[in-house]
Amino acid sequence: MFKNQRAQSNIPNYIILSLLALFALVPIAILFLNSLKTTVEIGRNPIGLPEEIRWENYSEAWKEGGYAITIRNSVLMMSLTIVGSLTIAGFAAYALARLKLRGASLIAFYFLVGTSVPPQLFMVPLFVMWRQIGLINTHLGLIIIYCGLYSPFATYLLRSYMVSLPEEFIEAARIDGANNLQVFRRIILPLSWPGFLTAGLVIGLNVWNEFLFAVTFLPDPSLKPVATSLFEFQGRFSRDWGLTSAGSVIMVIPIIVLFLLLQRRFIEGLTQGGLKG
């Protein structure tokens, strides 16, 4: 694309880009290195290679941090939130993209308002409502909230996929006598799976990392997801740097693997939806 533009040398570009890459990656590398050191060694050698690799940090962090339980909690909430919001958003996106709704602009405005309200404004009353109906300290309660928070984003993303689908397929199905629901199931769903995948990944990532609502609505330690449990773990072992570093690595390993495998989709989804991570 820039073939003609750069008669100039590329070397300065690469120098600056490499410095920026070091700035992004070195702190992450330090976390990984420190997760294999004893706390005493971190004090002596805070950023270098470990003298002696200490894998025990991981088994100990896994046990002390209760990861067997918290990962289960997180995965449960992630999967149900993904299924719930993609179902809701899939239907809504279909209606917005393909069915001629009167007042669609009103809906767009409604969601502009609905998604720019600060969470802090509605969080406290929501907490009171949830307490009233007994949804505090339940995974279901938080899953419903996550579905409410993330389905507008998913709708937006899926709608842009569905708008670009070729009209002929839908017309053909209609001529065969398919109703709206059948068109959705037979034509729209199979054709827009990349959109669903992207939206699902972003929602999963957000649930995995989410902090504010999790810390507020799930105070019970046995129900906590990884994020807020790690926060509490870090507080409990605040002097044990090797251990807490290992705990943090456990939390990011699945994200790094998924991100490296599907980076294009992650980046596309996260930069399109205007979600804050």
Binding site: A7, N10, P46, T87, I88, Y94, Q120, M123, F211
Partner: protein, 309 residues
């Protein structure tokens, strides 16, 4: 623009009273979007309205609700801690509107000039953005720790400016937290700016170079004007997000020491869940909403004036 187009469609629809525009057909179509609307109503809209109303009460979260008019707001305007939080949110906004945007533009401009290795750099810059706040704060809490961090090591070589508790000192706590949040955020901007920059017409650069424009001049007079919509969009987003910041401050300093890094988000949380002053917390929520509304209004105003954003 969006609204005028859909009004035209709506008028066309009303002219057909039967067939696919009958009552039942309309209801059928709306039923696809109803779950989304209802869920949003329950999770966001209704509690937000309650939030607005609670700001005019002295409710503790339990028991009777007394309406006290603008009492909370009177108190808020005389509350030194609230003033401190608001100032910190403004400082935060100023920091994020300058440093991450500058670094983001630099990274994106450099990236747009290369082909080899572009994917590696994109992934590297974006990686901190997908990490949880609890992890990123752990990374930097350790690196910048006064005892087990790089401060004491550098001090051995005579570099002393990091050899003190950055997050435990009043003058630096907020800046330290903003640095950590900014570290995880700038890569996101690189990607946004890069995709805007790759859409710029290459011929514009050629013309500029024929006129003898330096690299910086090309950036200033070709790149910047061409990516203005994206730039304005990120400015709007940063302005909104800076009023909502919570995670990084809550995790790293809890607003301390002595409220020196308090922001509206953490102060609201404290009032609602530690002091049980729900009414007061709600009034802080209203102030945050006003901030967001002003930002959105500015955005709409610019759009009305014909800015392409």
């Amino acid at each position: 623009m969006l609204s005028s187009r859909s009004t035209a469609t709506a008028q066309k629809n009303t002219s057909t009273a039967f067939g696919q525009y009958s009552f039942w057909a309309t209801l059928g179509r709306w039923s696809f979007i109803l779950p989304l609307l209802i869920l949003n109503l329950i999770i966001v809209i209704i509690p937000s309205v309650f939030g607005l109303l609670l700001a005019f009460t002295d409710w503790s979260g339990y028991g009777p609700i007394n309406i006290i008019g603008f009492e909370n707001f009177n108190e808020l305007f005389q509350d030194g801690v609230f003033f401190k939080s608001l100032t910190n949110n403004l400082i935060w906004t100023a920091l994020f509107l300058t440093i991450p945007i500058a670094v983001g533009l630099l990274g994106a401009y450099m990236l747009s000039g290369i082909k080899r290795g572009q994917i590696f750099f994109r992934v590297a810059y974006f990686l901190p953005y997908v990490f949880a706040s609890v992890v990123n704060t752990q990374i930097w809490r350790q690196i910048l720790h006064p005892r087990v961090g790089i401060g004491p090591i550098l001090a051995d070589y005579g570099i002393t400016f990091l050899d003190f508790p950055i997050f435990g000192t009043r003058e630096t706590a907020l800046f330290g937290v903003a640095f950590v949040d900014g570290w995880h955020f700038w890569g996101f901007l690189v990607i946004l700016y890069l995709s805007a920059m790759t859409a710029v017409d290459v011929e514009l650069y050629e013309v500029a170079r024929l006129d003898g424009a330096s690299r910086f001049q090309q950036f200033r007079f070709v790149t910047l004007p061409s990516i203005r919509p994206t730039l304005v969009f990120t400015i709007l987003m940063i302005t909104i997000w800076s009023s909502l910041v919570f995670d990084y401050v809550f995790i790293m300093t809890g607003g301390g020491p002595a409220n020196s890094s308090e922001v509206m988000g953490t102060y609201l949380y404290q009032n609602a869940f530690q002091r049980f002053d729900v009414g007061y917390a709600a009034s802080i929520g209203v102030m945050m909403s006003i901030w967001v509304m002003l930002a959105v209004a500015g955005f709409i105003y610019l759009r009305r004036r014909g800015w392409e954003i």
